[in-house]
């Protein structure tokens, strides 16, 4: 990964110097090496601060909206999974192709520092990956974990190492993650519950929410000028009362809202400070859409219309669809 970071810096410098771009979107180190954050780099010097390691989960795609507005050609580094979000933004006409230069950036899975800490690693000083092992250095000694144990949940549903959009690719593609199981397993487990159990599950989950809006802010499909939740004219409007529709049904509405446009990146669940399993709602819609209307992956390309703005004459009726899911 360190090698990739070097390549990124070199590429950023090259593109800025050749005037192919005015700006670079990449990651900058945070307080610790494991809390890297998205950042914009406007000149060659600044580019030296670009970092890349197993702790760069954020998708930079959404920052391209600003680039498009400012009409500034921007270099953006995209991990394979990030490219789906870019395509979705293109499809939604929120970004324009002429204002960004996409550099495919290899990824072998991002790690979840929370998991590492939960497994007992304290005061982490260094983390290195070797094949499927993660070695964690702490003042109290070295700990070793299987990668599977400490990968981000979203990386356990990795879509592979292909870039769906890229002007060029940096270095060689890395081996795709090997622990990908059935991404709908958790959804199926809930489906198998009784109605009462399902209700109890969601009541438990959704009651944790503090309405911080992190889930919507991170989402590459949530890119409106003004969010419906902030629009008084919208059918969900009405901020005042705690018993309002918006308050009670926020997650259902949010998930429905991006149905057909959600690329399944898992970022919403990752950034939730309360650990609400809200990504399952998105996955449920993806599963239903695949099952009712045929396989569809949002962000696969920038042109195919979403299943919610298309139809077939022999689509299943609502009741039929629910039963068919079985």
């Amino acid at each position: 990964m360190q090698k990739i970071a070097e390549l990124m810096r070199a590429k950023a410098v090259e593109l800025l110097q050749s005037s192919k771009a005015e700006r670079v979107l990449a990651w900058r180190a945070g307080e610790f090496f494991y809390d890297n954050a998205p950042a914009a780099f406007n000149d060659v010097d600044a580019c030296q601060e670009i970092v890349y390691n197993e702790f760069c989960p954020a998708n930079l795609a959404k920052y391209l909206i600003e680039a498009t507005k400012q009409q500034k050609k921007t270099v953006v580094f995209l991990k394979p999974c990030d490219t789906y979000g870019v395509n979705q933004l293109l499809k939604d006409h929120r970004i324009k192709r002429e204002y960004f230069y996409a550099v495919g950036t290899p990824c072998s899975g991002m790690l979840d520092v929370k998991k590492i800490k939960e497994l007992g690693a304290k005061a982490i000083t260094q983390i290195t990956c070797e094949d499927n092992k993660v070695i964690v250095e702490t003042p109290y000694g070295t700990k070793e974990f299987a990668k599977e144990e400490v990968l981000l949940d979203k990386c356990m549903m990795c879509k592979g190492n292909e870039y769906k959009i890229a002007d060029e690719e940096l270095g060689e593609k890395l081996e795709p993650i090997q622990f990908v199981g059935d991404r709908f397993a958790a959804v199926k487990a809930i489906e198998a519950m009784s109605a009462e159990e399902r209700f109890a599950f969601w009541q438990e989950e959704l009651s944790k929410c503090i309405r911080c809006n992190a889930c919507r802010d991170i989402c590459p499909a949530c890119s409106c000028e003004q969010c419906i939740f902030d629009n008084q004219e919208a059918p969900v409007g009405g901020k005042a009362a705690a018993d309002d529709v918006e308050e009670q049904l926020f997650h259902l509405i949010r998930a429905y809202h991006v149905a057909g446009r959600c690329v399944g990146c898992g970022e919403c669940a990752r950034v939730c400070p309360q650990g609400v399993k809200l990504g399952l709602l998105n996955l449920k819609f993806i599963k239903d859409i695949n099952q009712f209307y045929g396989a569809y992956q949002a962000g696969e390309d920038a042109t195919t219309p979403s299943p919610l703005v298309s139809y077939k004459e022999n689509d299943p009726e609502a009741e039929e669809a629910v039963q068919r899911r079985g």
Partner: protein, 662 residues
Amino acid sequence: MQKIGVFVCWCGSNIAGTVDVAAVVEAVKKIPDVAYAVDYKYMCSEEGQKIIKDAVEEYGLDRIVVCSCSPRMHEATFRKCAESIGINPYMVEIANIREQCSWVLKDVKVATEKAIQLAKAAIAKVRFNNPLHPGQSQVVKRALVIGGGIAGIQTALDIADAGYKVDILEKEPTIGGKMAQIDKTFPTLDCSACILTPKMVDAACHENITIHTYSDLEAVSGYVGNFDVTIRKKARSVKADICSGCGICTEKCPARKTPSEFDEGLRNRGAIYIPFAQAIPKVPVIDREACLKFKTGKCGVCSIVCPNGAIDYTQEDELITEKYGAIVLATGFELIDLENYGNLGYGRSKNVITSMQLERLTNAAGPTEGHLVCPASGKEPKSVVIVSCVGSRDTSGRGKTYCSKVCCMYNAKHAMYIREKYPNVDVTVFYIDVRTPGKGFDEFQRRAVEEYGVHYVRGQVGKIMSDKEGNLTVFASDLNSGRHLMLNPDLVVLACAVKPAKDARKLASMLTASIDTNDFYVEAHPKLRPVESPTAGIFLSGMCQGPKDIPETVSQAGAAAAKVIGLLAKDKLMTNPCTAKCNEQICSGCLTCTNVCPYGAISGVEKEVVTLNGTREKRVVAVVNEALCQGCGACTVACPSASMDLQGFTNKQILAEVDALC
């Protein structure tokens, strides 16, 4: 502060009989902003409207709620009333307390409570109503009539005579329709062809009429005043402009195994054929499925004998596009097939025939040159049984639930002209009821009995059997005498139910015209708008709307034409102002909405907009073409940011109703 007036109609006893209207008035008076409320016997009457107008003046009302019948009945009336006193017509809401309340409920307390709630919902909605102003759209001064039977021809002639261009679209190779097949017409017994063919010629010669025969409707888009239509002119395999209509090809064609549609299968026609002598256009057509040239590559006789070289085996279907302001459906009818009535022996014995076959058997231009014979033996019958209601008034699933309306009269006609020409032939009509309302109709039917000695037996036939020689045995009941009969007629005529043309449903889908479960087109109102489809700009003429005889069809054709003329006479149409509207300030320009608009009314336009921060910015936003938008609202739901809203049915209005009812 808003000033809402609520007007509660009794509709005589229709509403007041079940709803305590005074209680409704009292209840709504307590609602904030309701400045005035009153009930009256007939709000739609002039006196009722005056009450509304006076109240507006006296109380300075700015919004009106009428609790009355369905808005489909009188919304327009009350909107006009509001407009006449300076209130924007779209500031009116209707609470439907008749169809949805007094007519479906019996208990006064329950009905009154529901009426109050419906009134509350309407009041909740009207608070969010905004004045709306209809736009205008151009009217294309040309009409399309689909179907070239008597209904279509008459409609087209009436429109053309008024000075407008009109096209007739006919799927068969000739216009004329079913009336051309009929021998004589009731109640005058005059020759059908003699009165139809001059009209066919008129239509063909009319400078304002263009006829497309052997053609199908391929695609339709647009809306009232502006329909874009694609017509498929099927390949005739004969060059119409060169053909002289001499008919040599039709005589020489060696492939003669196809039953003639026009003669109801009573004789065969060639693969190249002209349906009948007076066909218009008199240009043959090659039935490619029957033609040896097309099937085997060998033959080509027609092309050899044609003196003009008009045969063209390579002709292809042609697609033509045209714009129309109005479309008339005149697609007519056909007889039901009798597959569910195997007990009647149709198809098993040639001597059991349909009424339409009888028309061809008695027609001088028919397969027997008008000699009535039994098809099996070729001999004149000695006795004929006519069976009414075959497949009509049948709710068992075998036939049609409705009365076909024309059979009683044509049965009398058939019986009469058999007796007229062959006084020795005994004719018995089995009937359930004889239904002959209409001018001179009952008199006509009575003549069959009184002057022509036709036997009318109240009863029905059961099984019809035939032996090896084709002799028929008919079991029947005679209800008036309580007897069971066994007869041996030589010919049985089945008065089959009529049904709408096969492609009626397909056309309804293409035109978004309403259609009922029997595939008859639905009129906008059964009494007050009988020749219009609920879809603006689509009109109905003839049997396609419901069973009717020729005089009725011709009247309806004229009525449909008058409606079309009324439409085409306008230069511009007021468009429905309840269109989608984009809030450009928050529109992100994602253009998801464009995917679901059936009219292509939304486009992305780069505009300078004021952002939410108050700054100006140039970006793409969705813009609705109000002339194209029909106001379905699909875009409002597709829009992720709720910047698309539907005027007249805004999110706020609908949610206000939801809140008021929950």
